[in-house]
Symmetry: C2
Subunit: 291 residues, 2 copies
């Protein structure tokens, strides 16, 4: 069963209204925003990733889902497999660092013992509060598409984590992403749609367009790339199909109140159109990370 099949089957179960028919990354309960992730060694992180960074990334990626809702973090609940003492201690130190960095306390959780040889699996539920949580599917025809920060750095960082030569700054973008909490809070009232980029700019922008019932046109020449990424040799199309950016992608019809780059627009229709300096170019075979 694919993820899409499974989610379609879940939609036939009794759903809470705040589940938004399972079309979004987060659920709502009044002004509470809830998001849940499981991450698996060898799938979502490398078994060689430092445990301090695994802790950081587990929390930061969930806080990124909250950021996309304009939420202020309230707390997290951890599901943790107790195993190797050294790994556990380092994980706890990374967890302490990330909770302090984003002013987000621990609310509770559960510990388990895994059978020997089972891959490490961690789970996190993050809760935040937002009075104006934007949806993924609210883009309107004529809206511009904007992105915070730079794209593709984490994709290069993953290559570096796997052994490529490259700067620590790019590796840090992969291992220690920064959820755009302040930007999300500032943007929430101004945007028509918002989401974080986790699987890749193109695939995620396509999801926003699909949820909004529109075409999104993206000009790859406008995609913001860091100097380090350009020196590393990744081009805009590689960057736009890499994952793990955790930047905020949003649709609005005014100048945003935070630094961001306009990379495209929404028009009537359905799908994703790529341009380079205004001229249509073919879509790459792979738009991003497919679950």
């Amino acid at each position: 069963m694919t993820e899409a099949d499974f989610i379609a089957a879940l939609r036939r179960l009794p759903l809470h209204a705040g589940a938004h028919d399972l079309t979004d990354d987060a659920a709502h309960l009044g002004d509470l925003v809830l998001t849940k992730d499981m991450i698996v060694a060898g799938v979502h992180f490398l078994p060689s990733d430092p445990p301090t960074d695994v802790a950081w990334k587990l929390v930061a990626t969930n806080l990124s889902d909250l950021a996309a809702k304009g939420a202020v973090p309230v707390g997290v609940m951890l599901g943790y497999p107790i195993g190797d003492d050294d790994w556990d201690r380092a994980f706890l130190s990374g967890l302490d660092a990330v909770l302090r960095a984003f002013d987000c306390p621990l609310l509770g959780g559960d510990t388990v013992k895994l059978p020997p040889d089972a891959p490490r699996i961690l789970s996190l539920t993050a809760l935040g509060r937002s009075a104006h949580a934007p949806r993924r599917g609210g883009a309107r025809p004529g809206d511009s598409l904007w992105i915070t920060g730079t794209i593709g750095d984490a994709g290069a960082g993953l290559a570096i984590a796997k052994g490529a030569a490259g700067p620590a700054s790019l590796l840090a973008r992969y291992r220690r992403p920064t959820p755009r909490l302040a930007e999300g809070q500032a943007l929430a009232r101004h945007v028509h749609a918002m989401m974080d980029v986790s699987d890749g700019l193109l695939i995620d922008a396509g999801r926003m367009a699909a949820a909004s019932g529109l075409v999104v046109e993206i000009d790859v020449a406008a995609v913001p790339l860091s100097d380090d990424l350009q020196a590393f040799g990744h081009d805009a199309l590689t960057a736009a199909t890499a994952g793990d950016d955790y930047e905020l992608l949003f649709a609005c019809d005014t100048e945003p109140p935070v630094p961001a780059t306009r990379i495209g627009r929404f028009v009537e229709g359905a799908g994703l159109t790529l341009l380079r300096h205004g001229h249509p170019i073919p879509l790459p075979d792979r738009l991003g990370y497919q679950h």
Copy 2:
């Protein structure tokens, strides 16, 4: 690192006030009660358990934590490893049944793909609302200790699931526990302390006594056993050290408003004292399931 060591280390991290210093099964956020569990094939359920029943038990055991807080279920968030089609379909059917049975909708969640040969691991976060959530550690000297229902049936059911001959009623108590939601809601304002019995009556009563700073005296002759369990041949001490009952254990100084059995009392001191018809007997080597 043991679970106790790990939780002690978590207590040095930034904690939410609603985490109650991680001394309870559930966290609080205003009137919201939150609980999170991970369950692992081969550890928390048998790989041979029917997937419909695994779904039931995953939800029912979390709702049991809510019941112990007198909470009305609000919704659940599921972390699910998509794998074998038949297993997934059966799980979905069990999930549908349990959500409908306890009027608890799905709020959201996350799906993952596990590496081949990884044991199945599922995670659930359950949310409920309770205006008067009792704590585990509120028992007072002179309080009586009470238990709903009968004890030990699920322990016999586990033996039956592993191949012993025995009635379907006992197997069902192991595979399809019933969270005592209505009882918990009725009890919440009347009790000084309440928790659900998941690891075994003796070990859990000992935890309530420790959290309350008291001795709990339990008379094993008073422990309520079903006719089926007695026919199966398990005695009260076996029943009181088996897990998976999901009955409510509570301390109060009045007659409870729901059917329950008085099995002991709290007195000054620290620890667990066992009696049989009023006469002290030695503690068994094993008080219940140790994580």
